[in-house]
Structures are given as C-alpha cells and as structure tokens.
Symmetry: C2
Subunit: 472 residues, 2 copies
C-alpha cells in the first residue's frame, strides 16, 4: 500500500475507533479538515480523502457549509457491513460469525455449547409430553408475568443460591438478552452512563449502544471489578446501571469474591446505582459463587438469567427477578414491545428442568467441561497461548497471545480457514485486550483447530517484525 494510502487508512481507523468507543458521540461534529490535518501533520487532501471514504461508508455525514458529523444515534448498529470477512470487528462480529457459520466451521470463539453437549434427549421427551399438554398452554397467550409453574420453579432455584423471593418478584422474558433490554428501557435515558466489566460479554456493548448509553468499562480482576476504578467511575460519570455476570464471568471465567461483592454493593448503595446480575452460567458452577442479588435481597440488584446455555438456545426463555414495584413496569414494557411471552417454550422448559435426568446431565456436563478445560490449556501452551486465569468452572478460557500477535489479525487469518475466534477487543470497552482471545473449551477438541492456529501465528509472525516468534 503506497504511503499516502496508509495515511488515509490510519486516519480512517482512528476515527472509526473513536466513533466505536463513543469518544465521539453520534451527532458530534468532527474536527475540521484543516484542524485534523495540522494536528496530525497530514496534507489536507489526505484528510479530505479519509473523510469522504467515511461518508461513503455511512459512518459520518457531510453537512455543506457546516462540516462533518458522526451519523445519528440509530447508526451505531447500522454501520456494519454484511460481508463477514470485510466487516469491522465490532461487538456483533462474533455473534454474526458464529450464528452465520455453517456446521463445517470450527467455532472456538462461539459462546455456547455444541448441540451434542446439550440435553437433547430430555428436550425431545419434553416436546413429546408437551404435545399431549393442556390446550391453553399450546395455543393461548401466557399471563403477563409468564408461565406460573415455571416462575415458581425458578424462584425455588434462586432460593438455593440465597435469593429468597416470592414468584410475584419474577417474570419470564423471551431470553436473557431481552431481560437486560427491558431493564435498559425501564431505567435508561439516552446518554445515561452504564458501567460494564472490561472485558465483558461483547453483546452488552451492542445492547447498550442500541440504547444510546455511554459505556464505561471497569477493569476486571481475578476476584471481581477493580473497586478503585469502580468508585472513581461512580464519582465522575454518575452511572445509572452496572451490568455484570454473576458466577462465572464472561469472558474471563473469574468469579466474584465475597469481600469484593460486599464492598461493591456498599459503593452502589452510596451512589444509588442499580446492578444487573446476569446469571446465565449458574448451572455450570461446581460450587455457587456469591450472588450480589443474595447480598442485597434485590434492593438495588436485578437478577436475570436464561437456559439457552444449558438446555437449548433454540428454546427462548429468560427471566427477571426484581423489586415488585419495578417488575410491574417491566411487565408493561414487555407487553408493549413484545406482547406476551412464549408459553409453549416455558412449558417445554418446565418439563425439561423437572425431569430427573437434567440434574444428571448437568453433573456429566460439568465434568466434561473441566476435562476439556485441562486439555485445551495443554494443547494451547505449545503455541504460546496461555490462560490469564484457570477458571473454576464454565466453558470459557481467556487466553493471552504470544508477544506481538494481534488478536484481530489472528481472527481474520483464522476466519479465512473456517475457524471463528473471539478476539479480545470485542469484549473490551477500552480496546486494551488486543492480545487476548476467548476460547470455548467445548469447541477446542478438533486437532485441525491447532493446525490452523499454528499456521496463522507463524504467518503473522513472518509478516510482523515486531513479533517475537522465537517463543515457538
């Protein structure tokens, strides 16, 4: 690429990064061509060219006589190109990749278990018995809060992790994601600040963008969020909401320590912050980690979850446990935006969960995951890919790449060979995880994966003199 092209591209990339990280908010005016050219020691024509290409990509708009502006708030989710290899590695990149990929692709970056690991037999049984079920469940709408028996079962399950609530404090949703979406609709104004862990589940970024929220990442350690950074963020940004995982954190696999949980809640209370605790991996834990919701009795914590990771991703059903006064409004919002939930899915799920086989299936699944975790660690080591922490449970392994290797480049390289990785920066609000990759150990058994990785690493080393290839 001729030097001028390189300069144009780097200007474009810098601007794209600022828009993606919302340093430049939708609607914000970009620096004038002259200002930017001067500050970057570039020719005006270079900046003009960069701006015009960004206009062509619908990232920014030109207002004649006024300058260039970041496209409006509906845009952040509309920027993305449809060609997977071309597409920006944005929060939705991995989702689209993993969902789009055919059965042949290897998906160590994918966030769920292979079909063969799911509780298939129980699900088939549940479908057959549901087919004989009571008519209203099959054809009619559910009550606003959702299937009563399932809500009772879920409250009993929450009781086990120390969250004692009556069924009136629990509503069903179409999914865990919809649960968070409803909470955002209920609590957030456009422009409100939301705290997330850095790194965190990438779809939190996409969801919060759709709500036009300002996202602030809190560095995440092996025992929970960095409380100093958390405290500082509370002071400087006055956030409305903090969204985190309970139990096994995605992507790191780390769990919250009781001490951090306690201090975090005290800070949240002082700042009148609402905490959303996403409990989606609960059933994968060997021994339950502390739950914020249990500590504060759902005073300012909202617990959400779903069974898409352990029963079926195809069967849509999630839940919200919250203060009763909040729940009423959340139910209204659910009706307004998705009407009534799927009673059929809830009925099937109820039958799966109350089937004695589910517990046995989960015991076997946890054991299988531990084993896969060990094997993955062993087999990644020779490639210089090392775990940031060895998780107590779950399917995720958050790994550091060899020096000089950039995760996005590795992901693009692997994608061309039918391997879908989850590059670190998709999880990182500060985009400081460029040397990290999340592996789903239930999808790391194929020897071919390690060949592709090794080949890609070597290729990147050769093309990158900064990289220390000596390690391998």
């Amino acid at each position: 690429m001729p030097p001028r092209q390189t300069r144009i591209t780097s200007v474009m990339e810098e601007i794209q990064a600022r828009i993606a990280s919302r340093v430049w908010q939708p609607g914000a005016r970009l620096p004038s061509v002259r200002t930017l050219a001067r500050s970057r020691n570039l020719s005006v024509s270079t900046v003009v060219e960069a701006y015009e290409r960004l206009v062509a990509e619908n990232l920014i708009v030109a207002r004649p006589g006024s300058g260039f502006y970041v496209v409006g708030p509906t845009a952040p989710l509309t920027l993305m190109q449809s060609d997977p290899t071309e597409r920006e590695i944005d929060p939705l990149w991995i989702s689209r990749q993993s969902l789009d990929a055919g059965q042949t692709a290897l998906k160590p970056g994918c966030g769920w278990l292979p079909e063969s690991w799911m509780y298939e037999e129980g699900l088939r049984r549940a479908l057959r018995s549901t087919a004989r079920g009571h008519t209203p469940l099959l054809t009619d709408y559910s009550p606003p809060a959702g299937h009563p028996e399932l809500r009772q079962l879920l409250t009993r399950r929450l009781g086990i992790s120390g969250i004692q609530i009556p069924p009136q404090q629990l509503m069903l949703t179409e999914s865990g994601t919809q649960a968070i979406d409803l909470i955002c609709r209920f609590l957030l104004e456009p422009g409100d600040t939301v705290l997330v862990d850095d790194p965190c589940y990438f779809n939190f970024h996409a969801l919060l963008r759709a709500h036009r929220a300002k996202i602030v990442g809190i560095p995440w350690h092996s025992d929970g969020p960095d409380l100093q950074a958390f405290d500082a963020a509370l002071r400087h940004h006055r956030p409305r909401l903090y969204i985190t995982n309970s139990g096994i954190q995605n992507p790191t696999g780390a769990t919250l320590s009781p001490a951090i949980a306690h201090r975090l809640l005290k800070l949240a209370e002082a700042a009148n912050l609402v905490v959303v605790e996403d409990d989606i991996f609960a059933d994968l834990e060997h021994s339950p980690a502390p739950r914020l919701a249990a500590f504060d009795g759902l005073e300012r914590t909202i617990a959400i979850g779903s069974f898409s990771k352990t029963v079926s991703a195809s069967l849509r059903c999630g839940f919200i446990a919250a203060r009763r006064d909040w729940l009423e409004s959340l139910i209204d919002l659910k009706i307004a935006t998705s009407f009534s939930g799927g009673g059929l899915a809830a009925e099937v799920l109820l039958r799966v969960l109350t089937d004695g086989g589910y517990r046995r299936h989960m015991d076997a699944l946890r054991a299988r995951l531990s084993l896969a975790m060990e094997r993955a660690i062993e087999r990644l080591a020779p490639l210089g890919i090392t775990p940031w922490l060895i998780p107590q449970a779950g399917m995720f392994l958050w790994c550091q790449l060899p020096p000089g290797i950039d995760a996005e480049s590795l992901a693009r390289e692997c994608l061309t060979n039918g391997v879908i990785l989850a590059p670190g920066n998709a999880f990182s609000q500060s985009r400081s995880a460029q040397r990290f990759v999340r592996f789903n150990v239930s999808r790391t058994d194929e020897p071919h994966l390690y060949h592709v990785l090794e080949h890609a690493l070597h290729h990147l080393c050769r093309s990158n003199h900064g990289a220390d290839c000596g390690e391998r």
Copy 2:
C-alpha cells in the same frame, strides 16, 4: 363528592389526559399554579391540591423553585397501577386485563381467538414430529435471519398477496410486536412523529410511547385513512413512519381500497415517509385486500406479520419483509436486543403451515367467524349497540353505544361482573371514540355476556341523566 373535590378531580383528569395524549410531552413544564387557576377560574389551593395528588401518583414531579414537570420519558409506561379495576384505561389496560383474566372471565374485548378455535390438533402433530426432528433445530441458535425453510415458505406466501421478494429480504422475529419494535429502533429518534390510524390497534400507542415517539392519529374511514388529514399531517409534523394494518384493520374491520392505497403511497413517497404494514390478520381474509407493500415493491413499505392469531399465540414467531439494506441493520438490532430467534418455534410453525390440515382449518375458521359476526350483530342490536361497519372478514366488530353511554364507564361496570370489554378510546389517539367498543365475535356467544351488557347499560342510564335510555 363535595364541589371542591370535583374541581380537583377534573383538573387532575384534564392534566392526565394531556399527558396520556402527549399534548404535554414527558419533561414538559406544567403551567404555574397561578396561571392554571386563573385560566380555569379556580382557587389556587384547588390547583395546588390537584398538582400535589398528581405528584403523589408519580405523574408529575415538583422541582423546588422551578415548578411542576411531566415525569421523564421512561415514565409513561410506569404510571399504571397494578389493580386492574383501579388502573387507568390506557393502551395497556385491555392487554393486561385480557392476559390476566382467568378462564372464567368473558373476554369479548380480547384481541385473539379462544383456544378451542385454534388449530390445536395440527399444533400437537407438529410438536410430536418436531420432537423427532434434526438436533440443531432443537438445541442450537438459528441463523441471524431465522429458520431458512420457514423464511422460504413465508416469502412464497407473500408472493401470493403480490409481494415478490427473495428470502434474503425476509427475517424472522419473536413476534409481530417485536417486528414493529425493531423497526422503530432502526428508524426512530426520540421525539420523532409517527402516524397511526385513529382508531388503531391500541398496542401501537403503547409501543410508540416506549419509543418516546410523538403519535399523530389519522381519522380512519371505511376505505382507509382520511387522505386530507394524512396530507396535512405530513406537512405539519414531517413524520418518519406510518404504522397501519394491511387487510383487515384493527379495530374497525375495514379494508383499504386500491384507490386510497395508491394515493397514500404517492403522498408517502413525496414526503419520504416509511410505511409499516402489519399483516397479522392475512389468513382471516376471504379475498385478499390490496397490500401497500405489493404496490410499492417494498421500496418504502415494510411488511410484518405473525401467526399468533391463527396458529398459536403461545408459539412466538413473527417476520419482517423489507429492503435488503434495511434488513441487515434490523438483524443486527435483533441480535443486540434479543440475540437469536427461537428456531424451535419456527420449526413447529413450519410443520403446522405445511400440514395440509391448516388450509382446511382456516376455511372452516373463516366460515365460523362470518357466522359469529352475523349472530353478534343480531344480538347486540336490541341493546342499541350497532356496528360502525359490517366487516368483510375477521374477528372484530367496531360498535357504537347508545347515546349518552360512555365506553370506559361501561367497561368498568362490566369488569366488576367478570366481562372484559375493549373501550373505544384505548384505540383512539384523539380519544374521540368514547362511544365505541370493539367486540371479538369469537367471544360473543355466551348469553351471560348480553345479560351483563344490558344490566350495565341500564345502570349507567339511571346514573346518567344525559343518556337517552328510551331507545331500549
């Protein structure tokens, strides 16, 4: 009630109405106590008392030294009380009533068919065969756009109503409501204006409120919207979106004439207006009415639909047919806000729709509805309740009440006797339908319904000297 109480209440009601109809937008400052007192010839203390009660109801907030303000945008859906009889008759009133009601309640106001009218046997068959289905469909996520075979089938079905598109222009959603919700997220900024029919499906109001849109109602005639009012609204409000029903309009049962459809699209094009056509009652039509989406080939029209009214409300699955460039962004928004759709529901629906029995079931259902329609008209006549128009098809009958009878009072009266009505103003943005009620003719067979109606009408007549009870 002492006169002062009456005055306080009427001030409160006036303010509530203005907030509900968004004449006063969330965040807007209310007139000062003095100003309002002067303009209404009321004592300052009366207005103060009214304001303070509205503060207690969380409808408005007092900012010391600054005045009273309509509560913020998240509020409109949080105002509502949970006690059904107490609750304001707002857009969600009927939904919550109908969804909450036990099996014993009569629900002529409810918007869907009784379970016994649905295609139960086909659904049970579909569940049994799905239980034997291919594993990924049972446990894995669907591709972003949704179940491929179902999308193909739906595009073929759209083709029959003249909407010729490739499957790439159709995506699945969790429901028809979610379909509209995604479109609003994609196209609307808070404060944007949206046109709806007046009257229209009440949940459009609730959904648009959740998006903080300004809602403008266009008077609806027996052959479509009033084009003069439509044209005027385009000029004065520069709306972004027009949401309407295709085929059978809810609540009136009227259908769009080709002439109106053609002129409407010309106006929409001139004003660069996007039209959302909700096709949810398609399968209830004897002969298909014109589709706006067919006229403009999905240039600026977006077609949506679902099968909750004809197959199962418990099986959540809807769709969006739109321009390909829009669809990509809609898919991103779907992933961000609800991740992947329910492949299982889509698979069951596919099996129901491709089962030869479905067509026969629908033929019988249409005949049954026509018959129920005739009977309902006959039996309502003696009560002085007369149809505004006799629909060609569908389940809804939009009826006018006897002079002096207010639909909300009738609805409250009937609710105390276990009958849930759909009062006209829940459908009317201008709240000008206080003398109308929507009946679902599939739920008007019970003789008890007519006893309750008659009793309630007499009671209201006696307590209302304005009413002309002579008619009956």
